[in-house]
């Protein structure tokens, strides 16, 4: 037995590599068979393709298991294993290393994709037989890409040229912690999950079955991926907050943005798709959104993996960028051609080959002409600003021409008006959903431009300019507020049409609540440490900077009152639901006993037993509630208190409501490090609330760079986030502390739990006919219990983890000393220019260059220099790139002008839509019946049938 194992172990690098090749071959086979099945429509071929898909899944699973085996047996001949693990790592972190580095994370991605494929093919079963072949083919195409990528460029089984090493390098300590074990798989689950709805969309396009079928089919998959994107992002925030030790959770890093962008498009999609389901509108838009979501998941990976954009998460630079670029290009061409080919169906025009050819040719001619035209404009010797303006105008005009003229003319002579579905009224949920799509896409566009700005600025000015968090904070806040507003108001409108009366009634209570919230905030807020208006620094000098500053100063009160508005809206919705059910007499189906168990089980049971469309609707409101809670947490950021102090043992320090008492320092030693703890008691209003032990770990291997261990206490109102800077044993254990009081952070995590619960309600499987009430109730209770337990686990683990496993998470070494608010403001506006700290600001970077730069600035402050003067000098010394926010002059203005122009264009497009719809207002879509003067309704045989079908619709 042992010898067999040895023989196998010896050949594992070759064997693993061959498995990847095998996966490639089998995926190709399945791809071909699936296409054949699609072309012939024969169930036999389809069945073969299904088996092939399962086979691919099995082989990929085998490959992952081989890599896991290599990790567990410490096979350091394999480069990836040697690079990301060592002999001392515990088992669970050996598994973490599977996705800790570039090559492995690609295999992990492929593995998750396979898992999705297996689940999806299984779920499809004998339904959607027409769509299935193309769904399988699309997914296999994606598998093929990853196989090619790994086999030719990033093979996780590649061996070291120099042979096996005695020991590996070990996983980056930052990655060796609890959150790193669960956050990437979670996020990847979301990322990879976007492939499935995309495959459904491609299948719908390929078969021309563009009715509601594919949307219904992909609904749960979309929601699932969306949920995991949200949860993955939140867990990423938790990781940054717990481990990176700078007191915040979101740094607008390219990797974070890359994960956030698909979430935005997916959110837009789950809303707009409801309109298509109901009205048959927005077919092109939905296909575009879902393709964009998938594109962004790959694009984000490309951005951060190719090394084109600096990020704290940077993977080593490699050649995979080219592969990604080619894949993305193919993806865009493929999706565009497919959409153009199906243009007639998508626009509800009777299809014909002539139209298809015209659409594809015209579309591509326009795209290519634009490309050529824009490139030639680019080559002109004009000032940058001119070139950008011309390009923007030409591109905008081209899109306009494409949409408005060419396709209009092509369909000339066809009576579109009667065929194409229309909106009923502006005061309807449909329209607010469009507004919400517009806001989400605006936010996306902004983040996209800012994230890719290093590339844009390099192309424009030959200067790679990085965009720091202050820029995002200033610009994204207004958009976030807009979204929050739309989220609330959208809920208050009904489908189809809202009577002015009903609208007035719907708005009354929430508006009153909002008004009360504003007043309460202004009056009570300052007393409890949450003032309504908080002034920050302007990111630009000049009117734009001033406007942003004024708006953002009011963010706390606006944000808080809008949160109150949203909560009021949601509560009102549920009150209306229960009132309607009570008057209809359906509420009795919920066992009374459940209500006595504290209300929540009864509530959940009611939600889960609603007919599916209503359940999705009210589950959506629960999701909204989660997002509102998260927004409350984000608003809390405005009131952060950051202090720095030095204390002798026994001394106390008062910050806000909290009194910190430094008890003393103690040292513990283990095998590979010395740990110096500072014991601090946290009192609030004289009562002991928590005992914190921030620490410095001094590893034997690197005695010169002690690592910093954060300690924090979570409360409902604030988090006390404590970092110890230095402990000086020669001076009676004098210790320097950084104290961050971060209000309301816990609400973010809590909101995420509510979000999960809401998504589960939306995805809850329809209870089968014949299933007994008891069983349905049991499932409801089980689901509630599961989500609550999951939530509590999520919420409780950070605290428990911080207390029990401090040794597992050496965070950044060194600390940043910031003495006063002026320093904070200046450091926050400048980047560390040492060349190796990619995106760090002087306010967070701990390297020695940053320390020197800070000392220089302190010196300047001491001699009385002003903020603007110091910033100007720093910029003069290091160049534009040294600023956290790109300057507001010349071509650098592109960074905000482009998104603002895009948002404006979106608003214009929306207004045009609005006008067009308005001209049809009052007609219920296609006017099928000529409507004469009011005729009394006459019941006929069809009425009875209609009533029957209506009754059966939701059951």
């Amino acid at each position: 037995m042992m010898s067999v194992l040895q023989v196998f172990g010896n050949s594992i690098p070759t064997f693993g590599g061959s498995l990847l090749l095998a996966a490639m071959v089998v995926a190709s086979y399945t791809f071909a068979v699936a296409l054949a099945a699609g072309a012939s429509g024969r169930p036999r071929t389809l069945q073969a393709a299904r088996f092939g898909a399962y086979g691919t899944v099995a082989i990929v699973g085998g490959a992952v298991l081989c890599l896991a085996y290599a990790f567990v047996t410490h096979d350091f001949r394999i480069r990836y294993v040697a690079h990301y693990s060592d002999r001392s790592m515990p088992l669970q972190y050996l598994f973490t290393a599977l996705w800790g580095g570039q090559d492995g994370s690609l295999l992990w991605w492929l593995f998750l994709l396979s898992a999705y494929i297996g689940a999806c093919v299984r779920w499809l079963g004998k339904s959607y037989l027409a769509l299935q072949p193309y769904i399988i083919a699309t997914l296999m195409g994606i598998v093929l890409f990853f196989c090619v990528l790994m086999v030719f460029s990033a093979n996780p089984f590649a061996t070291n040229v120099a042979g096996a090493r005695a020991d590996g390098e070990g996983l980056n300590p930052l990655l060796q912690n609890y959150w790193m074990v669960i956050h990437p798989p979670c996020l990847y689950t979301g990322f990879v999950g976007c492939s499935v709805p995309f495959a459904f969309a491609v299948a719908a396009l390929a078969t021309g079955r563009l009715d509601h079928e594919w949307i219904v089919a992909s609904r749960k998959w979309t929601l699932f991926a969306w949920m995991f994107l949200g949860v993955g992002n939140t867990l990423g925030m938790l990781w940054a907050y717990e481990e990176l030790g700078w007191g915040g959770y979101w740094g607008w890093d390219p990797v974070e943005n890359a994960a956030f962008m698909p979430f935005l498009t997916a959110s837009a999609y789950v809303h707009s798709v409801m309109i298509q389901e109901r009205r048959g509108l927005l077919k092109v838009w939905n296909v575009f959104l879902i393709s964009l979501t998938f594109f962004l998941t790959i694009f984000g990976t490309f951005l951060t993996r190719s090394g084109m954009i600096a990020s704290v998460h940077s993977f080593a630079q490699s050649s995979i960028g080219t592969y990604f670029a080619v894949f993305l290009l193919m993806l865009v061409c493929f999706a565009t051609t497919l959409v153009l080919w199906r243009w007639p169906e998508l626009r509800d025009v009777p299809p014909s080959l002539r139209l298809r050819k015209a659409a594809v040719t015209a579309g591509w001619v326009i795209i290519l002409a634009c490309g050529v035209g824009l490139t030639s404009v680019w080559r002109m010797s004009l000032p940058v600003a001119w070139r950008v303006t011309i390009i923007a105008l030409v591109a905008g005009a081209a899109v306009f021409v494409a949409l408005e003229i060419v396709f209009r003319r092509m369909t000339a002579g066809l009576d579109l008006r009667t065929r194409r579905p229309q909106l009923e009224a502006l005061l309807s949920r449909e329209f607010t959903f469009l507004l919400n799509n517009w806001a989400l896409c605006s936010l996306l566009f902004f983040i996209l431009i800012a994230t890719t700005f290093p590339l844009i600025s390099e192309a424009l000015m030959g200067d790679k300019v990085t965009v720091g968090p202050p820029f995002y904070k200033a610009w994204v806040q207004p958009l976030g507020i807009l979204l929050l507003l739309l989220m609330g108001t959208g809920t208050l409108f009904g489908w189809k049409k809202t009577s002015p009366d009903g609208l007035r009634r719907a708005f009354r209570a929430p508006v009153i609540v909002t008004g009360l919230a504003v007043v309460a905030h202004i009056v009570i807020g300052p007393m409890i440490g949450f003032p309504a208006v908080v002034w920050g620094d302007a990111i630009y000098t000049g009117p734009i900077g001033a406007t942003l500053r004024v708006f953002n100063a009011f963010t706390p009160v606006i944000g808080f009152s809008l949160c109150a508005f949203n909560v009021a809206v949601i509560v009102q919705e549920f009150v209306m639901l229960f009132r309607a059910r009570a008057s209809a007499g359906t509420s009795r189906s919920t066992p009374v006993a459940l209500w006595f168990l504290g209300g929540l089980p009864g509530f959940v049971h009611t939600l889960l037993t609603l007919p599916p469309p209503s359940r999705r609707r009210y589950g959506g409101y629960v999701v909204h509630l989660g997002i509102v809670l998260m927004f409350i947490g984000f608003t809390g950021q405005s009131w952060n208190v950051d202090k720095e102090t030095s204390l002798y043992p026994g001394q106390t320090y008062v910050v806000g409501d909290y009194t910190l008492k430094y008890d003393g320092a103690r040292m513990e030693v283990d095998n590979n490090k010395r740990m110096v703890f500072a014991d601090v008691d946290v009192f609030k209003h004289g009562r002991l609330e928590a005992h914190l032990t921030p620490a410095k770990f001094i590893y034997k291997k690197q005695p010169d760079s002690p690592t910093t261990e954060v300690a924090m206490a979570h409360f409902l109102r604030d988090d006390v986030y404590l970092i110890v800077g230095t402990i000086n044993p020669s001076n009676k254990n004098l210790a320097s502390f950084q104290i961050h009081i971060n209000p309301l952070v816990s609400w973010i995590w809590f909101g995420c739990i509510v979000l999960i619960a809401g998504s589960v309600v939306c995805m809850w499987p329809q209870i089968e006919f014949g299933e007994s009430r008891v069983w349905a109730g049991a499932r409801g209770i089980a689901a509630t219990a599961a989500s609550v337990v999951f939530g509590i686990m999520l919420a409780a683990t950070p605290a428990a983890h911080a207390q029990t496993m401090p040794g597992m998470s050496p965070t950044n070494s060194g600390t940043v000393r910031i003495d006063n608010d002026m320093e904070r403001s200046i450091f926050g506006a400048l980047r560390c220019m040492c060349g190796s700290c990619e995106r760090d600001l002087l306010s967070t970077c701990t390297c020695s260059t940053a320390e020197e730069a800070r000392d220089t600035i302190r010196e300047k402050l001491r001699v009385g220099q002003l903020r603007d003067q110091i910033l100007a000098e720093y910029e003069a010394k290091y160049g534009v790139d040294a600023m956290a926010v790109p300057p507001n002059h010349g071509a650098f203005r592109v960074i905000w002008m482009l998104p603002v122009a895009g948002i404006g264009a979106g608003a214009y497009g929306l207004a045009r839509f609005m006008r067009r719809w308005r001209s049809h207002e009052g007609s219920a879509g296609a006017p099928l019946v000529p409507r004469g003067p009011e005729a009394p309704p006459v019941r006929d045989a069809y009425d009875a049938r209609l009533d029957d079908e209506l009754k059966d619709l939701d059951d």
Binding site: G55, G62, G494
Partner: protein, 228 residues
Amino acid sequence: MTEAKKSATPAEPRHDEDDERLHDDLEAERRLGRIVAVGLPVATLAAAVIVGVVASVPSALLVLASGALLGAIALLWASVRTLSGDAPLPEDLEILAAQSHDVDDLAEQKRRILRALKDIENERAIGRIGEADYEEMARRYRDDAKVVMKRMDEREAPAMAEAERLARAYVDKRTAAPPRVEAPQGAVALPSGRRTCLSCGVSNEPDAAFCKKCGAALARSEGTDATV
């Protein structure tokens, strides 16, 4: 072993019990497939757990990996056999495939209108639209729905009449003649488009010219896709 039996069958004489045996073979293969589909993962997991406890984690991983590869082999075998037409399909797959239809514009319109009616009903229930607005919109949508339903009825009328005629003819025949339905020529066209050989009763592909089992000629019969 099933393989050997399969290759032997075409040479054997055509008998009824042979037909039954073939049916049993197919049934046995389906059963085998089901057993492997459930058994292999379960056996692999169980073996991995046992090995993991008794020996070590690496060995357990190896067991899992070999299980995955065995599964891959079984699946590819199934895939190729299905493709070549040797393996049986799940019972109702062909029927379901034959039933799948193209996008139905009218049905889609009707669905949307019904959805709209339901939506406004819900909105009225929670007081979002007033009674007058509801009445007006509901009437409009109901009128639209009726138009669509009428159109659907008109569209389906010929098919319904044809079905009626066929059913009547069948009933008449059964009451008049002995209860055996004879197709005019050598093959009966199933609704799925598949053709049943009249000599041996085996179901053949829709485009088959000769029976795959007995080799008898399957003559073209008209009305392959009679809608019943």
